[in-house]
Amino acid sequence: MGLIELLHMSVFSQSFSPCGKFLAAGNNYGEIALFSLSAALGPDANELSQKPILAFAAHDGPVFSLLSTDAHLLSAGNGEISAWSWAELIKKNVKAAWTRRPNYKSSLEIPEINAMAINPADNSLAVGGGDNNVHIMDLENGVFKSVLQGHTDYIHCLSVRERAAEVLSGGEDGAVRIWDTRTSQCVHCVEVYKYETCARPQHGRWISCLTTDSDWMLCGGGPSLSLWHLRSMSPTSVFPLSGCQRQATFYQDMILTVGEGQCVSHCQMGGEVKAQIPCTPHSINTLAINTNSTEHRVLTVGGSSDHIDVFTNLSYRAFSLRF
C-alpha cells in the first residue's frame, strides 16, 4: 500500500478477538488488519509490533462494521456479511467461513451495512444499513428470518436490549426505533430532533450513535449526545459536546464518546464533560474497550487516519497501531 493510500485511509470498525489478544480493524479500502495486542503491549515491543500481523482484502467497499462471536469475526462490507474463523486468522489463513447477503430489493446501488448487533437470547444477528431496514439473521442456520421496516432513511446504528428482548435502531431520518424481536413490530419511535434540548438544526437530525444499558439509552449524532431514561422515554441529561458524535459507550460510571474532533470525551451521567483526551485522527469513527482479557485491557480508537490509538490508561494516549 502506497504512502498516498495510507494518507487517505480511514478506520471504520474494530473488534477484539475472544481471547483478547488480537484486534481486528477495518478500513475504507475494504481491508481488515489484525494487530497483536500482546506483542504491542509486551515489554519488548518495537515499531514492528505496532504493524498488523495480517492484513487482507475482505470486501469491495469499506468495512463499516466488525463483530466478534465466540469463534468468528463477522465483517460487513457492501451488502454482504462474511465470517472469518478467529483460529484460522491467527494462523494467518484467510478464508471466509461463510458469506451471506440480506435480501435486498433490487437497486442500482448495493446498500452498505452500517451496523451489526448480536442478540444472544435467540442467537441472531441484527443487520442495519443502506436499505432503511433491519434484517434479522439466525446465526444457527444463516437464514434471514425477519425484516424490521419503518425507517425512512438509512440506518446508522443498532443496539440490543437482551433482557427486554428489544432491538434499537437509529437512522439518518433522525428516529430511534425500538423493536420487539418476538413480533418484529416497532413498539416505540423517538424522534430525537424534536426535543428542543437535544436538537441542533445547524447539523441535521440523523442519529449516528446509540447504546443501551438496562433502562438507559445514549444517542446522538446531528442532535446533541443525550442520555435517555427508557421507561419514561425522556432525555435526562444532554452533553455539551460541539461535534457530531459517532460512537459512545458506558464504561464503569462514565460515558466515553468519540466523533468529530480530535479527542475522546469523558462524560459523567449528570451531563458534565469531565475530560477530553487528545488523539491522532482528526475525526474518530470507532472506539472499543477490550474486556475480553484483563492483562490487555485497553481502549482503542480509530478514525480518519491510518493510526489506531491505544490507551492503556484512559487519561492519555500510549501509542498508535499503524496500518
Binding site: 494518507l7 480511514s10 442500482l108 446501488e109 452500517n114 439518518e172 475525526s283
Partner: protein
C-alpha cells in the same frame, strides 16, 4: 644371706649373658675359628643358643629349688648343676664369638661389593656423556642447510621424464636420494645453461628485427606526404558526395583526447544513436590543443604544479599573509577545474523540441556534470506559473528517484573539499552543472554508494544505463512540454480536457478554475491544510508547488498541489481547503477528505492515454465536479429556507452514505449519475 648372694650372682650371669656381644667384639679372631665358622650353619647356632639358654634356665631353677629345699652349699647335686651351668656358659661364649666374626665378615663383603658398584657407575657416566655428545653432533649434521635447497628444482617425475639417461642415471639415483639430488642439480645446471644460450640467441634476433622495423618505418614515413596530398585532393569529391568520412574521422581524432569517462559516454551514446535512436546526435566542443597539452605529460605537470604550489605557498606566507584567502580561491578553482573538452548530446523529440545536454568532466574530482537546455519546437507562450518547468536548473531533478544532483557522488571528493574549504558542491552547481548519479553511470564511473549492487564499470555500466536514461530524458522533456502547454490554458482559467478523457466528467460542470499560480516550497509548508502531507514527507524541496483556486458562487476551494519532478510517474498530490459557511479542510471535514482521495488515490482512472500527460488537468477537472457535488448535496432537503444557493442538478442515488455521511463523488459514465465508492 647365701640365697641373696646367689641371686646376685645369678643377676650377674644374666647380665653377662646380655652383655655377651660386647665381650665377643673385643675378642680377636683366628684362622681356625674362621674355618670352623665356614663349617657351621648360623641357623644351627641359633638353635643351639636357644637350647643352651633354656637348659641354663632350668638348671638355675633347679639350683634355686634345691637351695630353698635346704640343700647345703657344696652338695653334689648342687655342684653337678653348677658344673653343667658353667659348660653352658662356655658354650654361649663361643656362640657369641662366632656371631661377631660372622658380622665382620659380612661387613667386609658389603664393602667390597660397594667398591665394585662405584667403579661401574663411573663407567656408566662416561658412556652417557659420550652418547650425548654424539647425539648433538648428529643433530648438528641433520640441521645442516645446503645451498641447493633454495634452488627450485623440477619435480622428480618431470626430471625422470625429461633428463637424458647420462644425467638421470636411474639405476643409481633410484636407490639413493643423495645421488638423486645430485643428478637433479646437474640437470638444473644443464637446463640453465641451455636457457642462457637461448636468451642470447633471442637477443640477437630482436636486434635484427628492430633493424628491419627501422627500415620499414623509414619507408612508411616517406609515404605520408604522398597520402596527405591524395587526401587533400579527394576532399572536394567527399563534399560533393556528402560522405562525412572526414568529419567522423576528425571527431574520433578529437575524441581521443577526451577524458576516459567522457570517451565512454561518447562511444556509447554514438553507438546507441546508431542502433536505436536516430534522433540522438553527439558532438564534441572545446579547445583540442589544450586537451592535447593536458593529456601528454599528465604526471609531470601535476608534480610541477604541486611543487610550484608549495613554493608559492611558502613565498606567499612569507611575504603577504592576508592573501591566503585569495590563494585558497585559486586552489578551489584548480580543484573544480573542468576538462577543456565537453560533450554535447542533442535529443530531438517528435514535436521538434530539442533537449541539449552538455557533459563536462571535472578533472580533479573525477566526476561528470551535466547542464541542460531545452529549445522547444513550437513557440511557447509565456505562462508565469510554467517558469520553473523548463528551468535548466531543475529540469532533470530526480530523473531517478532521489537523484537531485546537488552533492557529488564521489565519496573521495569530501576529503578534497575539506582541504580547500568547500562546504558543499551545491554552491557550484550553477556554474559547473549537476553531478547526477545517472551521468556518472553513463560515463561508466561507479562509486560505491549506500546500496550495494552488482558492480559494473566502464562501457558495460554505461551501456546498461543508456537506453533507460535516454527514454527517461525524452519522457521528462515531453511531460514538461505538455505541462507547459497545459499551464498556459490553466492560467486562463480553462481546464483542458482531451476527447479521450471526456467520458470521465459530466457534461455540465459549473465550478470553474479561478486561479492557477506557482508557490514557493516554504509557502506550501506554511499552509495549515497541507500539514499532513508535509509531515508524511511527501513535499520535498525538489518538488514543484502550485495553488489552484476553484470557485462557484460564494464557495471558494483552494487546492495546494505538490508536483513531483517525476510526474506523471509520480502523481500530483492535492490538499484541499474550502471556504463556504466557514473554513473547512481535509482534516476537519470528511467530505473534503473524500474529495482529496478522489483525486489523489483514484488517479488511475484519470491517467488518460499513455504516458499520462493529462493526469494533472483531469485531476483538476474532477476537483471541479466534486465541488459541484459537494455544494449541491449540502444541507438537509427539508430544512430549506428560501431558495438554495446551489440547486441540485447532478443525479445522485443517495446524498449521504455510511457512518461518516459521505457524499457521492463517483461519476458513472454512460448513465450519468453519481454514486459512492
Amino acid at each position: 644371706m647365701s640365697s641373696e648372694a646367689l641371686k646376685k650372682r645369678k643377676g650377674k650371669v644374666i647380665r653377662t649373658e646380655g652383655g655377651t656381644p660386647e665381650v665377643k667384639r673385643g675378642r680377636g679372631e683366628g684362622d681356625p675359628q674362621e674355618l670352623e665358622l665356614e663349617r657351621r650353619d648360623p641357623e644351627q647356632d641359633y638353635q643351639q643358643y636357644k637350647q643352651t639358654c633354656e637348659s641354663l634356665t632350668t638348671l638355675m631353677g633347679e639350683i634355686q629349688e634345691l637351695k630353698a629345699g635346704g640343700a647345703k652349699e657344696g652338695s653334689t647335686d648342687l655342684e653337678k648343676r653348677r658344673l653343667q651351668s658353667c659348660i653352658h656358659i662356655m658354650n654361649l661364649k663361643k656362640l657369641n664369638r662366632l656371631a661377631h666374626i660372622r658380622l665382620k665378615k659380612g661387613r667386609d663383603q658389603t664393602h667390597d661389593a660397594k667398591q665394585k658398584v662405584d667403579v661401574l657407575h663411573l663407567q656408566l657416566q662416561n658412556l652417557l656423556y659420550e652418547v650425548m655428545h654424539l647425539q648433538k653432533e648428529i643433530s648438528k649434521c641433520l640441521e645442516f642447510k645446503s645451498k641447493h635447497e633454495e634452488i627450485d628444482l623440477v619435480s622428480e617425475a618431470e626430471f625422470y621424464k625429461e633428463a637424458p639417461e647420462e644425467i638421470s642415471r636411474p639405476l643409481l639415483t633410484k636407490e639413493g636420494p643423495h645421488q638423486l639430488t645430485l643428478a637433479r642439480l646437474d640437470w638444473e645446471l644443464e637446463q640453465r645453461k641451455r636457457l642462457a644460450e637461448k636468451y642470447r640467441e633471442s637477443q640477437t634476433m630482436k636486434e635484427k628485427i628492430q633493424k628491419s622495423i627501422e627500415v620499414k618505418k623509414e619507408h612508411l614515413s616517406s609515404l605520408q606526404p604522398g597520402l596527405n596530398a591524395i587526401m587533400q585532393a579527394s576532399l572536394p569529391v567527399q563534399q560533393y558526395l556528402s560522405m562525412p568520412f572526414e568529419q567522423t574521422q576528425k571527431q574520433t581524432e578529437v575524441a581521443r583526447h577526451l577524458p576516459p569517462a567522457l570517451y565512454v559516454l561518447f562511444v556509447q551514446a554514438k553507438a546507441y544513436g546508431h542502433a536505436c535512436d536516430k534522433s540522438l546526435s553527439v558532438s564534441i566542443s572545446g579547445d583540442v590543443d589544450e586537451a592535447k597539452a593536458l593529456s601528454k605529460p599528465p604526471e609531470d605537470s601535476q608534480d610541477d604544479e604541486s611543487d610550484s604550489d608549495a613554493e608559492e605557498e611558502q613565498e606567499k606566507t612569507k611575504r603577504r599573509r592576508p592573501t591566503t584567502g585569495c590563494q585558497l580561491d585559486d586552489k578551489r578553482r584548480e580543484m573544480l577545474k573542468r576538462h577543456p573538452l565537453s560533450l554535447c548530446l542533442d535529443l530531438k523529440c517528435k514535436d521538434g523540441s530539442v533537449l541539449h545536454l552538455y557533459f563536462y568532466h571535472l578533472i580533479n574530482l573525477n566526476i561528470l556534470t551535466v547542464k541542460t537546455k531545452v529549445s522547444p519546437g513550437t513557440d511557447l507562450s509565456t505562462a508565469v506559473s510554467a517558469g520553473e518547468l523548463l528551468n535548466s536548473e531543475t529540469l532533470l531533478n530526480c530523473l531517478y528517484s532521489n537523484d537531485q544532483g546537488q552533492e557529488t557522488p564521489n565519496p573521495a571528493n569530501r576529503y578534497q573539499f575539506d582541504k580547500v574549504g568547500i562546504v558543499t558542491f551545491a554552491d557550484y552547481v550553477k556554474e559547473l552543472g549537476h553531478p547526477y548519479v545517472w551521468v556518472q553511470d553513463l560515463g561508466g564511473l561507479h562509486f560505491p554508494g549506500e546500496a550495494p549492487q552488482g558492480v559494473r564499470v566502464g562501457s558495460a555500466l554505461s551501456a546498461s544505463h543508456m537506453e533507460a536514461t535516454m527514454k527517461l530524458l525524452r519522457g521528462r522533456v515531453q511531460s514538461r512540454l505538455a505541462l507547459h502547454k497545459q499551464f498556459t490554458s490553466l492560467e486562463h482559467s480553462i481546464v483542458p480536457i482531451s476527447s479521450e478523457s471526456q467520458h470521465l466528467f459530466p457534461a455540465k460542470v459549473i465550478s470553474r478554475l479561478a486561479r492557477w499560480t506557482t508557490i514557493a516550497h516554504q509557502d506550501y509548508m506554511d499552509l495549515a491544510f497541507t500539514r499532513h502531507v508535509s509531515s508524511a514527507g511527501l513535499a520535498k524541496e525538489t518538488d514543484l508547488f502550485f495553488m489552484a483556486v476553484v470557485e462557484r458562487g460564494t464557495a471558494r476551494l483552494q487546492a495546494a498541489v505538490v508536483l513531483n519532478p517525476r510526474y506523471p510517474e509520480v502523481s500530483p498530490l492535492f490538499s484541499l481547503s474550502l471556504s463556504w459557511k466557514g473554513e473547512h479542510s481535509g482534516s476537519t471535514d470528511d467530505n473534503l477528505r473524500a474529495m482529496e482521495s478522489e483525486v489523489n488515490v483514484f488517479k488511475s482512472e484519470l491517467q488518460g492515454p499513455r504516458p499520462g500527460h493529462q493526469l494533472l488537468t483531469n485531476q483538476l477537472a474532477r476537483l471541479c465536479v466534486c465541488l459541484d457535488v459537494y455544494l449541491e448535496t449540502d444541507g438537509d432537503d427539508n430544512s430549506v429556507e428560501g431558495p438554495r444557493e446551489f440547486p441540485r442538478e447532478k443525479m445522485c442515488l443517495r446524498t449521504v452514505r455510511g457512518p461518516n455521511r459521505l457524499k457521492p463523488f463517483k461519476y458513472n459514465h454512460p448513465q450519468g449519475f453519481f454514486s459512492h465508492r
